[in-house]
């Protein structure tokens, strides 16, 4: 009899635990979970796009994209093609507004293009490396832009790369 009882409790516990994690409210047990920190999450809703650049046979150049919501690329040394479409990357971060978090992402990203040609992006962001507070409601938006180095006579073609953005509570 004792053995049977023990198993029953164990099963119940397991079920409860999952429920508390998933919903964080509901039963009396879950009220204790109100002190629980909401898990951090990050999602990407827009990729980083520096737009269309006209190569220059004589000059190297830099394309700059400020880390704001609606920034578009501007160029020195080279020129942006008419009709070029550019935008920053957007990441939505959710979590507990009472906690601070840090951001880990590469300082530079190498874009790969045609025939093993590359271009280097130095990333920029609107938030800090560490000690970021989540805005009221527990959501913050991270914008990533940067500067793109274009070589003289940069080969024409499409260039791209992937990069990771990681966040963690402090």
């Amino acid at each position: 009899m004792k053995t049977i009882k023990f198993f029953a409790i164990a099963a119940l516990f397991l079920g409860f635990s999952v429920n508390a994690m998933a919903q964080q409210e509901g039963s009396a047990t879950a009220t204790a979970g109100a002190t629980i920190v909401s898990p951090l999450s990050i999602s990407n809703s827009r990729d980083l796009n520096f737009g269309t650049i006209v190569a220059n046979s004589e000059n190297a150049g830099t394309v700059t994209l400020a880390a704001t919501s609606d920034a578009t690329s501007s160029a020195t040394g080279v020129t942006m093609a008419p009709g070029s479409v550019s935008n920053t990357a957007i990441f939505t971060i959710t979590g507990d507004e009472k906690r601070t978090f840090n951001i880990t992402m590469p300082a530079t990203v190498t874009l790969a293009g045609p025939g093993s040609k590359t271009m280097l992006i130095t990333l920029a962001k609107n938030l800090d490396d560490a000690n970021n507070s989540l805005a009221t409601g527990g959501t913050s938006t991270l914008y990533v832009g940067g500067s793109l180095a274009v070589a003289a006579n940069q080969a024409a073609g499409a260039y791209s790369a992937e990069f990771n953005v990681a966040i963690a509570y402090e």
């Binding site: 409790i9 119940l12 516990f13 635990s17 047990t29 951090l40 006209v54 880990t104 990533v144 073609g157």
Partner: protein, 173 residues
């Protein structure tokens, strides 16, 4: 009693679980892109040449069309020899639209011996700039450019060679 024990167990369990969430890192992958297109380039293949003529008593006009035909008006008598429109070879990103700007004001051709001038105006091109001009699928475009030369009488424009320069700009549109 059993239930109370369970609650305690659960709270302990939560306390163990949460530090793991706190220190957990969450990560997302994004893409970065840029496109580079070929710089636009233009080379003058042939110089606009009105050829030989004689203005005679009253002068007049000599017109060279983009297709290479030459006509005259007034007392101008056309002579032999070469004449042709200007030709430009443009290269750039395939299928991109090009904005071409011809001289907006008349330009002057000058006789280097005596400083006398003739005016060139009424620039016309083939393809026409009234419609959109687009580079081919291989990124090429040939443009012919003609104009009208205004000639005075023989005293205003004595015999000699007259020359001048003008600017045509090509850019992506």
């Amino acid at each position: 009693m059993a239930f109370k024990k369970f609650i305690q167990t659960l709270i302990i369990s939560l306390a163990i679980t949460f530090p793991a969430i706190l220190s957990a890192q969450v990560e997302v992958t994004a893409r970065a892109t840029a496109e580079v297109i070929v710089a636009i380039n233009a080379v003058e293949g042939a110089i606009l040449n009105f050829g030989r003529f004689s203005p005679e008593d009253g002068g007049g006009e000599i017109r060279v069309l983009p297709d290479g035909t030459r006509t005259s008006s007034g007392s101008v008598v056309l002579g032999g020899g070469l004449y042709n429109p200007a030709t430009f070879y443009i290269t750039g990103q395939p299928e991109y639209t090009v904005a071409i700007t011809l001289p907006s004001a008349p330009i002057l051709l000058t006789n280097t011996l005596n400083g006398r001038t003739m005016e060139v105006h009424n620039w016309t091109s083939a393809p026409s700039l009234d419609a959109e001009v687009t580079l081919s699928t291989t990124g090429n475009l040939n443009l012919n450019l003609g104009a009208t030369l205004q000639v005075g009488d023989i005293s205003e424009n004595p015999v000699g060679i007259y020359s001048g320069t003008y600017v045509v700009t090509f850019s992506y549109n």
